[in-house]
């Protein structure tokens, strides 16, 4: 795998560990640019799996891992289109991001999200596609979508349902509140807590350990432990598109995007 520096992402492989760095300002919002580069990344990743043992995904931005989907782009791109075309565009984007996250989810590599700071919405869904989440003490996890009349659309609900108890899933989704790292570890979401600013170092240490294992056994174990909930993921796309077509969502997105208040519009 060649070293690559894109506008939103960079990646390289060192000693059998692939590292994917997120660096799109302001906070790794996932829009068209990031999606284009994520697609390039997973295509290259699939060719590198025979020579690598682990993948680490992390952010180089100080504020955190990712603020999630690029809601500004989502709103402005479809604003002047008829609703059926707007929904078709959203569906196409969801299909593309699902393909990317499904590849990461099912990758034969052991995948680690090294998280600090904000890990919200689509960024949280990217982390959930990984096998392990290693987070520092300032990490914060949230699905705020219901506060804007939506549900997570990048595979978050099926993956949460796979990994956590349903009561916790309901808490995260139905309240839209954020969890700090202690709470996230207590419910089983975070595997290791690192000191502030040390998540990547701990992830690298973990990846080095994983690299000692027999490849065939490591891959077989992951396939046995971690089924990808493809049917539920399809249902999530349909549900998201149905909700997205409602006028209330357009209004909530408009208020969120146009707000100049100190605190974002999140009712």
């Amino acid at each position: 795998m060649k070293k690559r520096c894109g506008q939103a992402l960079s990646w390289e492989m060192t000693d059998g560990v692939v590292e994917l760095a997120l660096h799109r300002e302001p906070l790794n919002e996932i829009g068209t640019l990031t999606l284009d580069e994520l697609e390039q990344f997973v295509d290259e990743l699939e060719t590198a799996t025979s020579r690598a043992s682990a993948l680490i995904i992390y952010s180089t931005l100080p504020q955190g891992f990712s603020a999630g989907a690029d809601l500004r782009e989502l709103y402005t791109r479809g604003r002047d289109l008829p609703m059926d075309e707007r929904v078709a565009g959203v569906r196409q984007s969801l299909e593309r991001i699902h393909r990317v996250l499904n590849i990461i989810d099912a990758s034969p590599l052991t995948t680690i999200a090294a998280v600090h700071g904000v890990c919200f919405g689509g960024g949280f869904e990217l982390a959930l596609a990984c096998d392990l989440i290693i987070a520092d003490k300032m990490a914060r996890f949230c699905f705020p979508e219901l506060r804007l009349g939506l549900i997570p659309g990048f595979g978050g609900i099926p993956r949460l349902k796979r990994d956590l108890g349903n009561a916790v899933v309901r808490d995260l989704l139905l309240t839209g509140r954020s969890f700090n790292v202690q709470k996230a570890q207590a419910i089983g979401l975070v595997s290791q807590v690192a000191a502030e600013g040390e998540a990547l170092r701990v992830a690298r240490s973990t990846a080095a350990q994983i690299g000692k294992f027999d490849r065939h056994t490591r891959v077989t174990a992951k396939q046995f432990i971690k089924p990808v909930p493809y049917n539920e993921l399809r249902r999530e796309i349909e549900t998201f598109c149905t909700l997205f077509a409602r006028p209330a969502v357009e209004e909530a997105l408009r208020r969120f995007v146009e707000s100049t208040d100190r605190q974002p519009y999140l009712p």
Partner: protein, 80 residues
């Protein structure tokens, strides 16, 4: 259990340390966005530091509209 004044004082000390502002320049009724010169992401960082320090959970929706150190202290008191 600490009093509201004690909790407020703890918040002021913590905010002064982490956002590098002189403690004596902060007062309980101050607007922390203005006094600390922070944006919403940094306010979220402050929330996380307060949760870690006081070992409480502070749901985001309870923080909507909260702008003073004293109001922050009241929210924390209700969770201690």
């Amino acid at each position: 259990m600490p009093t509201l004044d004690q909790t407020t004082d703890e918040i002021l000390k913590l905010a002064a340390t982490h956002f590098k502002v002189a403690r004596e320049k902060l007062a309980p009724g101050d607007d922390f966005f203005e006094k600390l010169k922070i944006d919403s992401l940094q306010a979220l960082e402050l929330l996380t530091r307060l949760e870690n320090h006081f070992r409480v959970e502070l749901p985001d929706y309870e923080m909507q509209g909260v702008t003073s150190f004293r109001a922050l202290a009241e929210r924390i008191q209700s969770r201690l």
